[in-house]
């Protein structure tokens, strides 16, 4: 038989696809590793079939993997799906890669048998390198998908974690929770100023009870927000300054004298009410609860 240099493997896979598939699946089912039992035989058969079909089409043009060549697109898509569905079934990334690597044995055996004594070392080397690359690709695809999830969650956090709450007519509160890194503080400032406008607030209370560290950067962001709000005719009150922060702020030399600060949100709220010439009073003639 006279084959072009890389054609022998492609021919073999195309011709004996069903046999290779059967060998491969039998071998995978025989493995009693940690992956056993987590995937049904039908699902395994379906994944293996899809991979082998896409693989056969891709290697038709040669055994050298090229990320840019369009003939690998299909196979890459299959691998992406595979790594995601396996991740959802709690397979580790190395177990998923092993799924690809395990094709080597049935493929090599058949290659040797078909060659009938001819030298197949070069083919085995090429196909082995190729399957290694594809196996590693599944890990990368999985990691990339995870990173996308993390990025999306971070963005959602930015939106979620800065609610502006209306306390009373003309009074809004902004409870800050978590680390005030610069990206988030920008969002906080924007949403506060927008809400203040939308709700025609006279007072905005920024509560920092949930902020674990108040350093000069956090203070600077707070001061800027307060200054911007003031330009819009809104008075900002900062509440939730705990004793340890009070001491630290003094040591840092941060000047908060331009800002009205209170220990608790309740104190700040009652001050804002007072400035609006309102008060919370107990109804007379009714027994108090305490």
């Amino acid at each position: 038989m006279n084959h072009p240099k890389t054609g022998r493997v492609a021919d073999l896979v195309a011709r004996a696809q069903q046999d290779i598939l059967d060998d491969w699946i039998r071998q995978q089912l025989g493995q009693t590793g940690r992956g056993a039992g987590r995937i049904s035989e039908a699902a395994l058969r379906q994944q293996s079939t899809r991979f082998l079909e896409a693989f056969a089409r891709a290697i038709n043009g040669g055994l050298i993997y090229d990320a840019k060549a369009p003939r690998w697109d299909d196979l890459r898509e299959v691998l992406k799906e595979l790594s995601l569905s396996r991740a959802a079934q709690n397979f580790s990334t190395s177990e998923t890669a092993t799924f690809i690597f395990s094709l080597k044995q049935p493929l090599f055996e058949r290659l040797r048998k078909e060659a009938g004594g001819a030298d197949v070392d070069a083919d085995i080397w090429s196909i082995s390198t190729l399957l290694d690359t594809l196996g590693l690709y599944t890990s990368e695809a999985y990691q990339k998908a995870r990173e996308e999830v993390i990025n999306r969650q971070q963005e959602e956090m930015l939106e979620l974690s800065t609610p502006v709450v209306q306390l009373w007519d003309g009074i809004v509160a902004l409870p800050l929770i978590g680390t005030l890194d610069s990206a988030r503080t920008q969002v906080v400032m924007e949403s506060l100023l927008n809400e203040v406008m939308a709700r025609r607030a006279k007072f905005a209370i920024i509560d920092i009870t949930g902020v674990p560290t108040v350093d000069t950067l956090v203070a600077q962001h707070l001061l800027k927000t307060v200054a911007a709000a003031r330009l819009m005719g809104v008075e900002c009150l900062i509440s939730g300054i705990r004793p340890q922060f009070a001491q630290t702020i003094v040591h840092l030399g941060i000047d908060l004298t331009q800002v009205v600060t209170k220990a608790s949100l309740a104190d700040a709220f009652s001050l804002a009410l007072k400035k609006l010439q309102m008060a919370v009073v107990r109804l007379e003639g009714r027994p108090g609860r305490s």
């Binding site: 890194d181 610069s182 560290t213 350093d215 000069t216 203070a219 004793p243 630290t248 030399g253 941060i254």
Partner: protein, 135 residues
């Protein structure tokens, strides 16, 4: 002065600064620092870590737990970068002086928040700041 345990963390991004704060808080809690002492050392660490990132272009922090005798315990933090260095340390320590767009209070504040403070800087070589907070 025997060092009980030591660890190092990289400072390459904003997230690393958060990690430094968390680690310092964890170690200060292990040394049973009071809430005020914890807050002081964490805040000082936050300032210096950000300086390392913003002015030093990144670097690392070494954490050490110190013991002097049986009673006195402390936390020592060393921030190191290979950045441009500080030409005039005295001026950098002045309140309100900044080469960036911050408040210019970080370095002087970190000194006041610490029990011991030491700074070495060489132009073109880098800067190293060591603070110790004794319990």
């Amino acid at each position: 002065m025997p060092t009980i345990k030591t660890d190092a963390l990289p400072i390459r991004s904003d997230e690393d600064v958060v990690r430094v704060r968390q680690k310092v808080r964890q170690w200060a809690t292990e040394l049973s620092f009071s809430l005020v002492e914890q807050t002081k050392v964490v805040t000082a660490a936050s300032e210096l870590a950000r300086n390392t990132l913003v002015h030093g272009g990144g670097g690392e922090v070494t954490l050490e737990t110190l013991a002097e005798g049986t009673k006195r315990k402390g936390l020592r933090l060393t921030f190191q970068d290979r950045g441009p260095g500080i030409p005039n340390i005295e001026r950098a320590m002045t309140e309100g002086y900044t080469t960036g767009d911050g408040l210019g209070l970080g370095l002087s504040g970190a000194r006041r928040l610490s029990s011991e403070f030491d700074i070495h800087s060489e132009v073109g070589v880098g800067t190293s700041v060591t603070i110790t907070r004794w319990k």
